[in-house]
């Protein structure tokens, strides 16, 4: 069952990059409008596996609300901290943050409640929270970070404009992240009988 869900996640995780590929010229010409146009589909592709996982719909709606407001604000701050422009290109950065919040924070928020201050007192609170949606979080954020690399190059290509590369990077990262998580789970489930001993050891630890 879990494995089937992972495959569903992997398939739906590739939707944003396919959409980006299809709308790439439009994304270059009008980044904000295109991101706005694509966001409902991105949201849909993230939410479908969540529904399939059997999470309560109210929970999902709550997570969508939180990640599209607070989550977007958080990622916007992170983007600025990492060097995104502050005074100009506000809507571009905001659109990018919204996209990243939906593809990274939303699943984690649905599966587990975010750690409260009390929970943070315990070690590994964050790891526990993100457990199960690593592919989404790490894939999207690492992809977005790697998407910055081509920006400074002097190739004078239209797609080097902000935030096209970062957006594309986030989409590619999401696809890679979800697929590799599915593959990783497949591997660990298959090899479970063989490595029964170490896993029991881990439990005692």
């Amino acid at each position: 069952m879990v494995q089937r869900l992972r495959w569903l996640e992997a398939i739906s995780g590739t939707v944003p990059i396919v959409l980006t590929y299809a709308y790439f010229p439009a994304l270059i010409a009008e980044p904000v409008a295109t991101i706005a146009k694509l966001t409902p589909f991105v949201l849909l592709s993230t939410v479908i596996p969540l529904f399939a996982s059997g999470a309560p719909p109210a929970n999902i709606l709550y997570s969508v609300a939180v990640s599209s407001t607070l989550g977007t604000a958080l990622l916007y701050t992170v983007a600025v901290l990492f060097g995104a422009p502050v005074t100009v290109l506000f809507s571009e950065t905001a659109g990018l943050s919204l996209h990243c919040a939906l593809t990274s924070l939303l699943p984690a928020l649905t599966y587990t409640r975010p750690p409260t201050l009390d929970r943070l007192q315990r070690p590994h609170a964050l790891t526990e929270w993100a457990d199960g949606s690593y592919g989404y979080i790490i894939g999207t954020l690492a992809g977005a970070y790697a998407g910055c690399i081509p920006i400074p190059l002097d190739w004078d290509r239209p797609w080097q404009r902000w935030p096209v590369t970062v957006y594309t990077g986030a989409c590619i990262g999401l696809a890679l992240g979800t697929i590799s998580e599915a593959l990783y789970d497949l591997y660990t489930i298959r090899s479970k009988p063989k490595t029964a001993k170490p896993s029991s050891k881990a439990k005692t630890n």
Partner: protein, 883 residues
């Protein structure tokens, strides 16, 4: 035993120096200078067109300052009305043309090109501080040989280049380096110039050279879009008007040349090779009537002045000249002059070809010039291109040797430092290294030059192989995060675009490191560490918004480093900002000390006072400076900051003993241990001396460095959150970030030369040091505070071997960066951007390595002595550290 670490530091530092010097020897291009003096063969003799020449060099006179602008938008447009009127009203009498400089566009290099007609190679570019006499043939020497008397007034670079050339009673050089002063030099030049043009004195000279600097200084000081530049240009306009009037009165045939030696970029600086910087103006005016012709050419090269001037004065063209005559200047004799120049260039190429086979072969392969003006022009251009290309020929052997030494030193740095050889061996190797350095820089005897590198190389190899044989060569455990971050920084050298945008890349890498560490701390429920790291990141982002863009960045970057607004507004902003720093920085340090568990002690109180005094001094200094008021008071302020800082260092060694007992217990009575005491004491020492570094930064730089000190203090609080390797990489990124936010870029033109005058009104031995402090202040502070930012787990570092620890980290990273940048310079040595982007980046990395080396030795030694003696040698800790 105490000196072990210092010996090791010295040894590694000398290795870095050898590597860098060897690499520079092959990389920084040189040209062999032929000492021959040109003699005119009988067939080349030409009657002089003019008897006297008046040359007015207006430093940084860009072409668009002079030429007529239809849509005048800037304050500097259409100010030299006199030239424009004469050019349009009387075309045959004068001509105006673009006068393209060969980069580097520094005055010294330009004067060499303008007088010898040869191309600059990179080696001389750094010698702007003190010009040395020109040894090769030039038109001043030829004029002297022909019995002409030369008068000179203006920029003293001429005096340095041509000692004993000017008539003693017609020689009035002025100090040129003080760019704060817009008028002193020009007043002097004006007085002498027009005095000598007077009826009584005009017969005592044949060539009159005047070099005015006001325009250049106005550009450096205020930028291009400023009324001061307009004022200086108007003044020059007046001069030219008067000059033309005076010359027309004279009976002889007089040639007036007004020219710029280079242009200036949009910020008013120069030194590089951008279009605006090389685009100077040349205007020639003849008192003889309409003798100048027209041309189809858009511009001339600056070296073309040399054969032109020689031809007009009937002198032989200097031997090393590669210029072509200017077509407009020889309306009648142009072809004749071209023939003469072709013959001269052939003679030169033939002789140079004897020294350099490749050049000889290439020049001989050229077909003889067709005897038309087009044919000669083509021939001369071809020869020039051959030389220009060949003088860009690198010597790969020393470059490879340098790379090898740098790589080996990096490997030796990176392994955990422990004693693996006898001290006497280390001492010997150190002596060999120092000897190599000296022989590479001072003694030029070929036998030493050839063998020293090999000896040094074998020593390094021997040392390394000894490590391998004893299998003590253990690289530190590779950790993912620091490796990733540092690799990111190293890979940046693979593309010129990345180097251009290094400020943003460094910010991105730093934030990645800090945020991952913060998340990790949060995950391990160390919220305090996480908050500290996040604040460090936030401050980093704030300082990264102080930007001085390099010209290649301009479409993606807005410079806000040089302030805008009137003098009064600027002063108010500076005063407010620096007052905030004065109030907040000691406060912040106090908070951190309290947080670390120190109760207020004598030294903390004293430190607070000392910091207040220093920062107050700096505030007054820069406020006065902004008002351009009371230069003496500025110097006194600066000196008092220095004295207070040094006094603190002296007092520190004295009181460290009795404060130690106060610090050993916190308010609750718990004992904190010698490690903690040593750390606190050391941080106090550095904070008290930080004023010395802050002093040399410009006002916004002071703010940036103060913020950096805050970041470093926060990192001390959060020191347990990162492994030492991660912390080192974060510090390395941090000092690069603040290098940029203190208004620097990896270019020659962003060096803030004016800080050389903080402690004196003339150039002294301290001036280069101040410029260095200004440029590498961030690196110095990071290196100094590094020993305190090592986590408690790696105990014993501060007390046992601060110099060792700090050496094998900050400066070893700097050395690896130097290695990466040097290898990329080698790889891209034929790249279009090598001199503009890769070479300045390499030089910056090399300087950063040497500076961090020097700081870790200088700081490490007294620190080790005092703390070591004070607390004894912690045996247990050190023995742990050694295995």
């Amino acid at each position: 035993m105490l000196l072990d670490g210092t010996l090791r530091s010295l040894w590694l530092a000398s290795l870095h120096a050898v590597g860098i010097l060897l690499f520079c020897r092959g990389f920084l291009l040189t040209r062999s200078v032929l000492d021959n003096i040109a003699q005119l063969p009988q067939e080349d003799r030409l009657t002089p067109t003019f008897d006297k020449v008046v040359i007015l060099v207006i430093d940084a006179l860009r072409y668009d300052f002079v030429s007529e602008q239809v849509n005048a938008t800037a304050v500097y447009h259409n100010r030299l009305k006199s030239v424009q009127q004469l050019v349009t009203a009387d075309p045959g009498r004068s001509f105006l043309t673009r006068f393209i400089a060969d980069p580097p566009t520094t005055t010294l290099q330009r004067l060499k090109g303008l007088t010898t007609g040869s191309l600059p190679t990179f080696v001389d570019a750094g010698s702007n501080f003190a010009g040395t006499a020109i040894a090769e043939d030039n038109w001043l020497l030829q004029s002297r040989l022909a019995g002409k008397r030369i008068a000179f007034t203006g920029d003293d670079t001429w005096q340095a280049l041509f000692p004993d050339t000017f008539e003693p009673e017609f020689n009035a050089p002025y100090e040129s380096f003080n760019v704060w002063d817009l008028d002193t030099l020009d007043r002097g030049v004006e007085a002498h110039l027009f005095d000598w043009l007077d009826v009584g004195k005009r017969n005592s000279w044949d060539i009159l050279i005047a070099h005015a600097l006001g325009v250049d200084h106005a550009g450096h000081r205020y930028g291009t879009n400023h009324v001061e530049l307009q004022r200086k240009l108007d003044e020059m306009d007046q001069w030219i008007r008067r000059l033309v009037g005076q010359i027309s009165d004279m009976r002889e045939d007089v040639l007036l040349i007004v020219m710029g030696d280079h242009g200036m970029n949009a910020q008013g600086d120069h030194g590089g090779d951008s279009d605006l910087e090389v685009d100077a103006a040349l205007w020639m005016y003849s008192s003889k009537g309409k003798i100048f012709g027209g041309t189809s050419k858009d511009s001339v090269r600056q070296i073309d002045l040399v054969p032109t001037l020689s031809g007009l004065l009937g002198l032989p063209t200097p031997f090393n000249s590669l210029g072509s005559p200017i077509e407009q200047a020889f309306s009648v004799h142009y072809l004749e002059q071209l023939r003469k120049t072709s013959r001269q260039i052939q003679r030169y190429a033939a002789l140079y070809g004897e020294q350099s086979d490749e050049i000889g072969r290439e020049v001989r392969a050229l077909p003889r010039p067709v005897d038309t003006s087009k044919g000669h022009e083509k021939y001369q251009r071809d020869v020039l291109n051959i030389f220009a290309r060949r003088w860009a020929q690198y010597d790969l052997t020393p470059m490879m040797q340098g790379l090898y030494v740098l790589l080996m030193s990096a490997l030796l740095d990176l392994q955990q430092i422990r004693r693996q050889s006898r001290k006497i061996v280390e001492l010997l190797i150190l002596l060999v290294n120092i000897g190599t350095c000296v022989s590479l820089t001072v003694i030029e005897a070929p036998i030493i030059r050839d063998y020293a590198p090999s000896i040094c190389l074998s020593c390094v190899t021997a040392q390394l192989s000894q490590c391998v044989v004893r299998s003590s060569l253990r690289l530190p455990d590779i950790q993912a995060l620091p490796t990733l971050l540092f690799l990111g920084h190293c890979l940046m050298f693979t593309s010129n675009s990345f180097i251009i945008h290094e400020d943003r890349i460094v910010l991105g890498l730093l934030q990645l490191g800090l945020s991952l560490r913060a998340i990790d701390s949060l995950n391990h429920s160390k919220a305090v560490h996480a908050i500290c790291l996040l604040i460090v990141g936030l401050i980093g982002r704030i300082t990264a918004s102080f930007r001085l863009c390099r010209e290649e960045q301009i479409n993606r970057c807005v410079s806000n480093w040089s302030m805008s607004g009137s003098v009064l507004q600027q002063t108010i902003v500076i005063a407010i900002l620096l007052t905030i720093v004065t109030v907040c920085l000691p406060k912040a340090s106090n908070i951190v000390f309290t947080f670390l568990g120190n109760r207020p002690s004598t030294s903390t109180v004293a430190l607070k006072i000392i910091m207040h005094v220093q920062l107050l001094g700096i505030t007054v200094l820069w406020t006065l400076d902004s008002l351009d008021y009371l230069p003496i008071a500025r110097i006194i302020c600066a000196w008092s900051v220095v004295i207070v800082g040094l006094g603190w260092a002296l007092a520190w060694t004295w009181f460290a003993s009795f404060t130690a007992s106060e610090l050993t217990s916190d308010g609750k009575g718990a004992t904190l241990g010698s490690e903690h005491v040593a750390r606190s004491l050391y941080v106090q020492l550095v904070l008290g001396m930080a004023g010395l570094v802050l002093l040399a930064a410009k006002p916004l730089g002071v703010v940036s460095l103060a913020l950096m000190l805050t970041q470093l203090l926060l990192l001390i609080v959060a020191k347990d959150s990162c492994e030492t390797s991660t912390m080192t990489v974060i510090l390395s990124l941090l000092c690069h970030l603040h290098f940029f936010s203190t208004g620097h870029q990896m270019t020659l033109s962003s060096i803030q030369w004016d800080t050389a005058f903080l402690l004196s009104r003339e150039i002294t031995a301290l001036s280069p040091m101040l410029v260095c402090l200004n440029a590498f202040g961030a690196f110095i502070l990071c290196t100094m505070l590094f020993p305190a930012i090592v986590r408690d787990k790696d105990r014993g570092h501060v007390a046992a071997g601060p110099s060792v620890r700090s050496h094998c980290s900050v400066s070893s990273l700097a050395a690896i960066l130097t290695f990466c940048s040097a290898s990329m310079c080698t790889h891209f040595r034929r790249h279009l951007m090598v001199w503009k982007i890769f070479a300045p980046r390499f030089m910056c990395a090399a300087f950063a390595t040497l500076v961090t080396d020097a700081v870790s030795i200088l700081v490490g030694l007294p620190l080790q002595l005092s703390i070591g003696l004070r607390f004894g040698r912690p045996k247990r800790v050190l023995s742990q550290h050694e295995d």
